[in-house]
Amino acid sequence: MCPFPDEVLERVLSLIDSHKDRSSVSLVCKDWYNAERWSRRHVFIGNCYSVSPEIVAARFPRIRSVTLKGKPRFSDFNLVPEDWGADVHPWLSVFATAYPFLEELRLKRMAISDESLEFLATNFQGFKSLSLLSCDGFSTDGLKAIATHCKNLTEFDIQENGIDDLGGHWLSCFPETLTSLQVLNFASLNSEVSFEALEKLISRSKSLRVLKVNRNISLDQLQKLLLHAPQLIELGTGTFMQELVSDPIKDLKNTFGNCKKLVTLSGLWDATPLYLPVIYPACVNLTFLNLSYATLRSGELANLLSHCKNLRRLWLLDTVGDKGLEAVGSSCPLLEELRVFPADPFDQEIFLGVTESGFVSVSHGCPKLRYVLYFCRQMTNAAVATIARNCPDFTHFRLCIMNPGQPDYLTKQPMDEAFGSIVKTCTKLQRLAVSGLLTDRTFEYIGKYSKNLETLSIAFAGSSDLGMEYVMGGCPKLRKLEIRDCPFGNAALLSGLTKYESMRSLWMSACNVTMNGCEVLAKERPRLNVEVMKDEDGDGSQAHKVYVYRTVAGPRRDAPPFVITL
């Protein structure tokens, strides 16, 4: 019997934000379950097909904010055909009745049409915050609808979507009466917007915290915008290269210096040594610097980083080379996250970029490193062992040796020991992506040692079913497993029989799984959706792409013809 009146309990529980905590709360007893469901304002749905909008609406009557994720992550790399699904419209239809006061919608890898955007804009009067990441199916016309109708908009965050960019007119659709904007991100939209409209919008948005413009905005224009918004906390610049008639570098420097609250800086397209120094006055406060679209070299980077002592997160292009990474190691002792992207990932004949030595340098200078994404063309077991020793706190370790199945380039051995050293040393590891030549031994290590692993990505690795069996037999906290091009077959698939219901999803493509194997899995576990994507060519017995996920909503009703749910 619960001693607290419902109102008190609800009030207390309303202070809990973490959805994991809330899940735990809801399991305590019936009263707590109810109090929790009435007090919840935000719902996070990691797989849109794991539950139906009706079920969500029935359980949580007072939602104001929804986060929805749709397609499997490998859809980012073109492994999922178009029209696979994850359409947001069924959700919006239900929400229009259940949550007319919905304020926030955050979508990742969902399909959303212009009609849906218009529906959203016109059916939710208090709608404030839209974030679209890696979504597709819409055009800038849909954005126009949002801009036009959402009178209380605070956030407009459009990132890296498969968008049909028909022009920049959407920006001019923000009404003159809109003054509440706090977040405006159109960095990944390519069309030019009206600078006049943008400048006016910025100058009347006194609460603007985050501004990320696209590449078409010049330095001169950026200067003007920053004069209107010195209160910015996050800034994404436009292009950092232009021919200047006069020399406003001093002005630009002053302007950046005036942005005292700036902690995040990105954009910096085409940054050159000529203009890069204008950001120096702002660097001392930066905690996140995203240079992953700036083709800097080591010298420029070193100069820049000497001003950035407080950096926690740094994203780079591999044009900075190992030497640039040495500068990272020596300038950024507080660094927690490093991502190094390849400037030219598809030119296989090139031997530029970073190597194991750059990574090692960083690990020496940045012992607090916990998140790394590293694209390289060569690596050694010894180097990774050193890195693990230097940075035992890794929570996210994503190493991509770009040539599939490449061994330790010095010893010619598989890279098993590298990942072995990571999982043995870094006990807090939550996310791991492996690459290079790997035998089943790697997975033996992973299964045995990684007690906290939640997400595992495997490609072109393993020798036999054993590899996957090791993982399914260990890794108690595994939630997401994505595998491509590995020699894992039905035995491997079925070794996870008892595990899949505790996981969010499993993806296997170009492995050795057959339809039979999938059918067995589906039969044994009716609460899983076992979806197979048909391959155009090839015989019908091979299961080319398999996507398995737990669900309370049953098989999905919107599956396209090429998706078979077993």
Binding site: T295, S298, F351, N403
Partner: protein, 306 residues
């Protein structure tokens, strides 16, 4: 003028450039464009990038080398698309550059560039380079067998992929076959400096005005000026500061000239930039006695200095 001879001094002729072009990982196909190959001819890269720690040390001895940014592609092809004038050798990394400079200025530097390459590689690089080098130099101008591209690998998101591809075609200075804007996209001309042991090549299209061009040339040829300074014992100073360098370059001793379509040698700066690009065939930095008296500007500086 000794320029053509000096061009051969370190063994980089057009013939050997073809071999070297196969090393360059930048050409995705047999580049027909002479521009690309000729650029290769002047390339100082002697080996594969990324492995030369020792050469990096050598490089630091010559601080100016840092300015010789390697031609990392934005995506990347031959020339740095940096419009501010920081252009570079193509195809190599800074490490290569370091190697190159160490070859040029170290007592070991020989005339046979090919031989030097082997020496440098053996002393610096890990064993793997040999293998890779073989892989590289398979036939003149021909690329090593291209591996089939795998769908969705490496795992890069579309936005980034497309952006990098755009970088390739942007800027107009790109000479690579893939994604380039075609022959009209670049304009390579030779740049010679009197007294320098080798020529350089630059893409005029990546500059927008004379200022950028002169800044770029300054940086590119500052090493030779530096050498001159120390060798002539100019006040015996340790590090010569940038302003002095500028003076030297812009001063009474240097004049920038170009050869136009008619074969005449003209003073740079008289005509509008667009017209200049249109007619410029090669550049020459005149120094010493030939220069004095040619440019009115230089006369003034002469007077000012005295």
């Amino acid at each position: 003028m000794s320029v053509p001879l000096e061009h051969d001094y370190i063994g980089l002729s057009d013939a050997s450039s073809l071999e070297r072009s196969s090393e360059s990982s930048n050409i995705s196909s047999d580049s027909e464009t002479n521009n690309v190959l000729n650029l290769k001819a002047t390339e100082l890269r002697l080996g594969l990038p990324g492995f030369a720690k020792n050469s990096e040390e050598n490089a630091t001895k010559f601080a100016h080398v840092k300015n010789f940014m390697s031609g990392a592609k934005r995506g990347f092809s031959d020339v740095n698309l940096d419009g501010s004038g920081k252009w570079a050798l193509n195809g190599g990394s800074e490490a290569d550059l370091g190697k190159a400079s160490s070859v040029l200025f170290s007592p070991r530097s020989g005339i046979n560039g090919g031989l030097e390459k082997n020496q440098v590689q053996q002393s610096i690089s890990p064993p793997n380079i040999e293998e890779k080098k073989k892989e590289h130099v398979t036939g003149n101008g021909a690329l090593p067998s291209a591996k089939a591209q795998v769908v969705g690998w490496p795992p890069i998101r579309s936005f980034r992929k497309n952006t990098m591809a755009t970088n390739l075609s942007k800027g107009g200075g790109d000479a690579a076959a893939e994604g380039s804007s075609g022959g009209g996209g670049c304009l390579y001309v030779k740049v010679s400096m009197d007294g320098a042991p080798y020529l350089r090549k630059i893409d005029l299209k990546i500059y927008h005005n004379y200022l950028e061009l002169s800044k770029a040339l300054e940086k590119m040829f500052s090493c030779f000026t530096l050498g001159q300074c120390t060798s002539s014992g100019l006040r015996g100073r340790e590090g010569i500061c940038e302003s002095k360098l500028k003076d030297l370059l812009h001063g009474s001793e240097c004049v920038l000239t170009y050869e136009d379509k008619d074969g005449d040698w003209m003073l740079v700066g008289d005509v509008p930039w667009e017209m200049f690009i249109d007619s410029c065939k090669r550049l020459r930095i005149m120094k010493g006695s030939e220069a004095i008296g040619l440019a009115p500007r230089s006369m003034e500086k002469c007077k000012n200095k005295n």
